[in-house]
């Protein structure tokens, strides 16, 4: 399987790979990354408060209703004290010159207490409350910045949760891959849940390959190497519908700043259109449903230009919550796009990647998609209406335990 997103891989690795915890080299990589990551993620906040008074025009960060005091010496709730401001200025300068690697992680331990102090400063905390307006701040900033000193000590060993939260902090587009086994039981087979005396079902070996989406651009030559994969798993973070990223200049959007969800859509289209995936089934995993649910209460789905025609039924009762409707709407958008490009059905699954159960179910669903695709090749008749895996109603998923 070909996969494009990190936390699901990390969850999978923890669940399926016995050697995961013992891999020493991995620990070192992750801790180094977390240390550098702490400093990188604190940047958007620091850049915001860099202005002398702390709250003059901040149009670069799309602050809504920015105060327009002109007097430079007015102290406001966003100003840092001078000592911390000197430190933050220095940090911003070395990041701007691209020299971060030269200073960190070597100087991490020395500066970690300062970073924690900056983080805990009321000015930064006030700014952080407006994090919805900061497009480049990773969601996990508060998780790591709060324990900057702990993360930077030599004895630090990342916990499983730390590793899950560290997604997106690595640079580069190296791939990661792992092999694991899932048994072949499925609701379609006779032995499911019934015959306890039956011999254990055969295990099928899978290889999961993780590709960092940052590395994908026009010239993704290496995708041809994956011509023979059984399924492409495309992961999209639902909660990114209002997040921005800096698109490379020659992308079709024309502007430098692009909505992340639009970027995912372009990426998805590129993958689906690629000749080497002509016959390969695609599974779309819509991830971070919990964050998505939370965010919908403050930021409309229409923040992404693709979703401007979303009109939910109001008032929302429990079984048709806003998040539920929004989820189905987004799923339909992708399914329609896929059908218009290939004439085939897109398989969609919902996940909350930090919750192991949903990841486990996602993999079992993917396994079923692969098997269904194989059986299709052997010319078994599986009518589309009879498909067990129709995605229009996931509440009857065989994998969710019935309460």
């Amino acid at each position: 399987m070909l996969k494009l997103h990190l936390p699901i891989v990390e969850s999978a690795q923890q669940m399926y790979s016995r050697n995961f915890v013992k891999n020493e080299i991995r620990w070192i990589d992750v801790s180094c990354v977390l240390r550098v990551g702490c400093f990188v993620s604190s940047c958007p906040l620091l850049a915001v408060v860099k202005r002398p008074s702390g709250c003059t025009s901040l149009t670069d960060f799309n602050f809504i209703g920015s105060e327009t005091e002109s007097a430079e010496n007015i102290q406001c709730v966003y100003s840092l004290n001078p000592r911390l401001k000197n430190f933050s200025d220095w940090l911003l300068d070395i990041i701007a010159t691209g020299d971060l690697d030269a200073f960190f992680p070597a100087a991490t331990r020395e500066y970690a207490p300062l970073v924690e102090e900056v983080w805990k400063d009321p000015a930064i905390q006030e700014t952080y409350k407006r994090k919805n307006e900061l497009h480049f701040l990773p969601d996990v900033a508060d998780y790591f910045l709060g324990k900057a000193v702990e993360v930077s000590s030599n004895e630090y060993e990342p916990s499983e949760q730390d590793i899950l939260y560290a997604e997106g902090v690595t640079q580069g587009n190296a791939l990661a891959f792992m092999e694991f086994q899932l048994d072949d039981r499925s609701p379609m087979s006779e032995t499911y849940g019934d015959n306890l005396d039956a011999p254990p079902p055969p295990l099928t070996r899978y290889q999961l390959i993780r590709l960092n989406a940052k590395g994908m651009n026009e010239g993704c030559k290496w995708v041809e190497m994956f011509e023979d994969v059984r399924v492409v798993v495309f992961c999209v973070a639902l909660s990114d519908y209002d997040q921005m990223w800096v698109a490379p200049e020659d992308s079709g959007s024309g502007t430098l700043l692009q909505n992340k969800m639009m970027h995912y859509r372009e990426l998805f289209e590129t993958m689906v259109r690629h000749p080497c995936f002509k016959e390969t089934p695609f599974v779309l995993i819509l991830n971070k449903y919990d964050l998505f649910e939370e965010k919908l209460n403050c930021v409309a789905l229409g923040a992404c230009e693709w979703f401007t025609d979303f009109s939910p039924l109001r008032p929302h009762n429990n079984s048709q919550s806003l998040a539920h409707q929004a989820y189905y709407y987004v799923a339909m958008k992708f399914k329609d796009l896929y059908a218009s490009l290939t004439g085939r059905k897109l398989f969609v699954w919902q996940a909350r990647a930090r919750d192991r159960i949903t990841v486990d179910e996602a993999f079992k669903y993917i396994r079923e998609v692969v098997k269904w695709d194989e059986e299709k090749e052997e010319a078994y008749y599986v009518g589309a209406e009879d498909s067990f895996y129709s995605t229009t109603d996931i509440s009857s998923s065989p994998f969710i335990r019935q309460e």
Partner: protein, 377 residues
């Protein structure tokens, strides 16, 4: 200066560069009165004659269980190293077809391999962004695996191609998906120079191929997805010596011409081109339209010893032998008996020029030798 002002200045500068480029292109076209084949024909030259028995498949190297992506000959003796999607490097004795080493790689997604000048080590790289070196004389460890003797890490993207600097076992050059080429010192594992990259003027897209000049090892060319080839001097890493435009698609492969004054390129646009490094001119285009359907991409190329012949592998399994002087195809190894059944991904000529090895997605390698009384050219 505000951000908007900066953006405007950037756009204006880009426009100026594009205008200048267009002017250069027009000027070059004006100066180009003929190409190599036009001139050769006017001198009365005729194409070399090649029949199907002049180049025959004399060995089939079977053993890989996945697509072959890359191969390299030793500079002396007759050994070949090949890299395959099955995650293995195999070292073959080309004369006997025997495998002398089968190296299981830590990362199966390998894209390139190379033999060291002394023949003691092999290097490989791929999607793991690392160039790994294996010493062929090291004993295998208790799990039956060959240990990695050196890992050259630092690239932020996949390693697409690597080549040792001629006569130097301790230095090699890699090209990468992170838009840079790097000259490595193998003894320390550190980068000696980085060509291109974020703050330097280099390629603007993935670099797919490198070729080092054998007559002047300080010079090398690189080919990239930005449709250009660039000439570099290893002493000057900050900018390329020259950029060669002309291709209309990704440049998949580059190879120096035997005399070191020219080099060839092969691209997704289906053409091969010959460029002169001293003048920067495009000397010749090698393209044969073959009717309807998709244009096959050029995947790999190699010049014969004298340079009179150019062997080119294509994505549709064809392998044309071009007469470089007259720009005519004199033989298609993809249409003879024993031809490969899939795309030709790599090819290379032995050191003495007497044999050509082709590697394919059909998992085999084939060795072709000049047969009968045909002399090596």
């Amino acid at each position: 200066m505000s951000v908007t002002e900066l953006k405007e200045r950037h756009m204006a500068a880009t426009q100026t560069v594009n205008d200048l480029r267009e002017k250069l292109k027009q000027k070059r076209l004006e100066l180009l009165d003929t190409d190599v084949s036009g001139y050769a024909r006017s001198q009365g030259k005729t194409p070399v004659t090649f029949g199907p028995t002049d180049l025959v498949c004399c060995r089939i190297l079977q053993g890989h269980t996945g697509k072959v992506y890359s191969l390299d000959w030793t500079p002396e003796k007759n050994r070949i190293v090949s890299a395959s999607q099955d995650g293995r490097l195999i070292v073959w004795n080309a004369l006997t077809s025997q495998k002398t080493h089968a190296i299981k790689l830590p990362c199966a997604w390998v894209m390139t391999c190379a033999f060291s000048p002394g023949g003691q080590s092999v290097a490989c790289g791929g999607l793991d962004s690392v160039c790994s070196i294996f010493n062929l004389n090291s004993p295998i460890d208790k799990d039956g695996n060959h240990p990695v003797s050196r890992m050259l890490s630092g690239h932020k993207g996949y390693v697409s191609s690597c080549q040792y600097v001629p006569d130097e076992d301790t230095h090699l050059i890699t090209s990468s998906g992170d838009q840079t080429c790097v000259l490595w010192d193998i003894t320390t594992g550190l980068r000696t120079s980085v060509f291109g990259g974020e703050f330097q003027s280099g390629h603007t897209a993935d670099v797919l191929s490198v070729s080092i000049s054998s007559s002047n090892p300080r010079l090398f060319v690189s080919g990239s997805c930005d449709t250009t080839a660039r000439l570099w001097d290893t002493r000057v890493a900050s900018r390329a010596q020259r950029t060669f435009h002309g291709h209309e698609g990704d440049v998949n492969t580059v190879k120096f011409f035997p005399d070191g004054n020219r080099f060839g390129t092969g691209s997704d646009d289906g053409t091969c081109r010959l460029f002169d490094i001293r003048t920067g001119h495009q000397l010749q285009v090698y393209y044969q339209p073959h009717g309807d359907g998709d244009i096959p991409h050029v995947t790999s190329m190699a010049f014969s010893i004298s340079g009179r012949l150019l062997f080119v592998g294509y994505s549709n399994g064809d392998c044309y032998v071009w007469d470089t002087l007259l720009a005519k195809v004199v033989l298609n190894l993809g249409a003879v008996q024993n031809s490969h059944e899939g795309r030709i991904s790599c090819l290379g000529l032995s050191a003495d020029g007497s044999a050509l090895c082709t590697g394919s997605w059909d998992t085999n390698l084939k060795i072709w030798a000049f047969g009968g009384h045909r002399s090596v050219i």
